[in-house]
Each structure stands twice: as structure tokens, then as C-alpha cells.
Symmetry: C2
Subunit: 167 residues, 2 copies
DNA sequence: CTGTATCCCAGCGGATACTG
DNA sequence: CAGTATCCGCTGGGATACAG
């Protein structure tokens, strides 16, 4: 069991286990991050999820607010539904015919921390101000992404360990 | 000032301010999320960042561990350096000629919560086990992404408010 | 070992036109 | 209003070949 400790000047994870090669990596079932990216790795997917968080439900709203072409929105929504992030639900306003609305599933809502992380990281860096910001209702303080462990500790980057899980 | 409250059955953000239209949105300086995606929205970018977190520094290591084609890795690394996520640093092993290593900058390390969020979201969902998992060193509990406000409160999704920031 | 230059293909995203 | 079909350009990523 190789143990590589690279902490120090440029702090990175401790790495336990031998996954230096792509082969070992692939054999281990790939990487969860890559699986995520195959679903939400496109601009259109995250923009539609964003608008769903903001409360958009109807096709027309989602298209207008994202600024995506209808054809792109259509295809992406279909895939988001297929991937289980959104649900396409029929509803009727009395007097008009049946319509559909797109709502986030639990799996879709689980993207909340990812969304906050993307928003926040995009705000820091360049000095650009303005745009939409996310705050804690009532408290009015901006939201920040954090990392914890399941035991409840805050985990700074230096205390992170990456290891090869048992099959 | 429009106020849209969509809490309830399918909980989403409260939305304060009128940014229902792409026009208002664009005028407000676009969206921080979209800016993030333009930098780290590609598979290759995040894979290289991942390997940098795992401690990879040399070009050859990064290529082998990501499995990316050299040409792709080369181009993407150059862009990551240009975008300020990585730094290309010369170093010499005595007796051989000068080489370069790629290390994350502060801005690159700031992707830590984003990385954890991507990893975690990819693990839930399908029943796939195995692969690399991130844990709290010493504690051994898996890492989870969280959302807080700058005042230190945990912020559940229902207490999130999206509002148009002043220019 | 650390790249770069070229060529190629697939997928994303847009424009246009058309349906229920 | 809520899409789908078709076509088309751009970029992401891989293969191959070459260079310091």
C-alpha cells in the first residue's frame, strides 16, 4: 500500500492506495466526478437546473430565462428527465388544456451545494460585481460552499485523504 | 420589486427582484455560474484540477493519470495557467536540465468545495461502488459538501434567497 | 521527458422552419 | 404555448507525427 504524502508548501490531498495509473483507476470503476460531468457537465444542463432552483417550471419560462435556443432546451430537458434530475409533470389549469411542468427531483435538488460552489467561485476572482447573488433568507449573508465530513467536522483541504475504496 | 415565493411542495429558492428575463439578467453582468463554467466547465479542466489535488505535478503524470491525450492536456494546462488556476514553475533536479511543474494557485485550490460536490454527487444515485473516495484524515468519515452563509449558519435549500445585487 | 502541430470526428449550441 | 426536425458552425477531445 503506497502512501504518498504531499503536504507542505503546496498543500494537496494525502493519497492512500495505488491509483497513479489510469488502468487502476478505470478498474476501480472510474471516477465519480467524471460521472457527474457526463450529466451536468454542459452549460445548458446547469443553466436549466439553475432556473429550476429559481422557480422556473414552464418550458417557455425556462427558455426565456436561460436564453437557450428552444431546440437546445428541449433536448437537454429530455435528457435531464431521463437522467432523473427533473420530472415532467402534467397539470391543468381549469378551462385550458393539459400542460406540463418541469420540477427538480430529489436528485436534482441534491445539486444545491454544487450550484452554490459554482456561483461563488465565479464571483471571486474577477472584480465583476452585480448579477444574482445567493443569500441566507432573513440573515442576508451571502452563501458559501463548505466541506464537512459525515462525522460533522469541518474539513480543510490539508486534512483530506483520497483513497481507493473497496469494491 | 417583485417577490416570488415558490416554497412549498417543491421547494426552491425565494426570488427577490425582477430577473425573469434574459435581458435583465445580461444587463446585470451575467451569471457567476456561467463564468465558472467557461473556465472549469470541461471534462479535461476538472480532471487536471483533480490530479493536481491528488498531488500530480509533472506533465507526464498528469497525462497518464487523467488518461487525456497529450495534446488535450497541453492545451488545457496552458489555459488553466492563463486563467490563473495553475502556475507553471521551473525547477531543477541537480544533474538534469530544467523542468516545469504545474501547481494549483489559491484560485485553483478554491475549487475544493466544487470538487467535493462533484465527487459526492457522482457517488450517490447509481449503486456503483468502488473508485476513489474522499475522507477526513484521521476521522475516516467521507467528505460531504455543505452550504453555509458568511454568518456561519447552515443554510438549507428552503432558506435560500436569490436576489439581484446592486451594481 | 515535455511538449507542439495537424488532421479528424462527435457533440454542443444556435437559426430556421414547421406542428399540435 | 410547447415543443420537434433539420441543418450548420464551433470547440472539445483523440490519433498521429514530430521536436527540444
Amino acid at each position: 500500500m503506497e502512501r504518498v504524502d504531499l503536504q507542505g508548501e503546496d498543500t494537496v490531498f494525502t493519497r492512500t492506495g495505488d491509483f497513479a495509473d489510469r488502468d487502476a483507476f478505470t478498474a476501480a470503476g472510474w471516477c465519480a466526478m467524471e460521472r457527474s460531468l457526463e450529466v451536468v457537465g454542459t452549460r445548458s444542463a446547469m443553466m436549466l437546473v439553475r432556473e429550476a432552483f429559481y422557480g422556473g417550471r414552464r418550458f417557455d419560462d425556462l427558455v426565456r430565462r436561460t436564453g437557450l435556443a428552444e431546440t437546445v432546451a428541449s433536448k437537454r430537458l429530455r435528457q435531464l428527465v431521463a437522467d432523473g434530475l427533473m420530472e415532467r409533470r402534467p397539470y391543468r389549469v381549469p378551462g385550458s388544456r393539459t400542460r406540463h411542468e418541469y420540477v427538480l427531483t430529489d436528485r436534482g435538488r441534491a445539486l444545491f451545494p454544487l450550484f452554490v460552489a459554482l456561483m461563488r467561485w465565479g464571483q471571486t476572482g474577477d472584480g465583476k460585481k452585480g448579477g444574482v447573488e445567493l443569500v441566507h433568507a432573513g440573515c442576508d449573508a451571502p452563501l458559501v460552499p463548505a466541506v464537512r465530513c459525515e462525522a460533522g467536522h469541518d474539513v480543510p483541504i490539508e486534512e483530506t485523504e483520497a483513497r481507493l475504496a473497496a469494491r
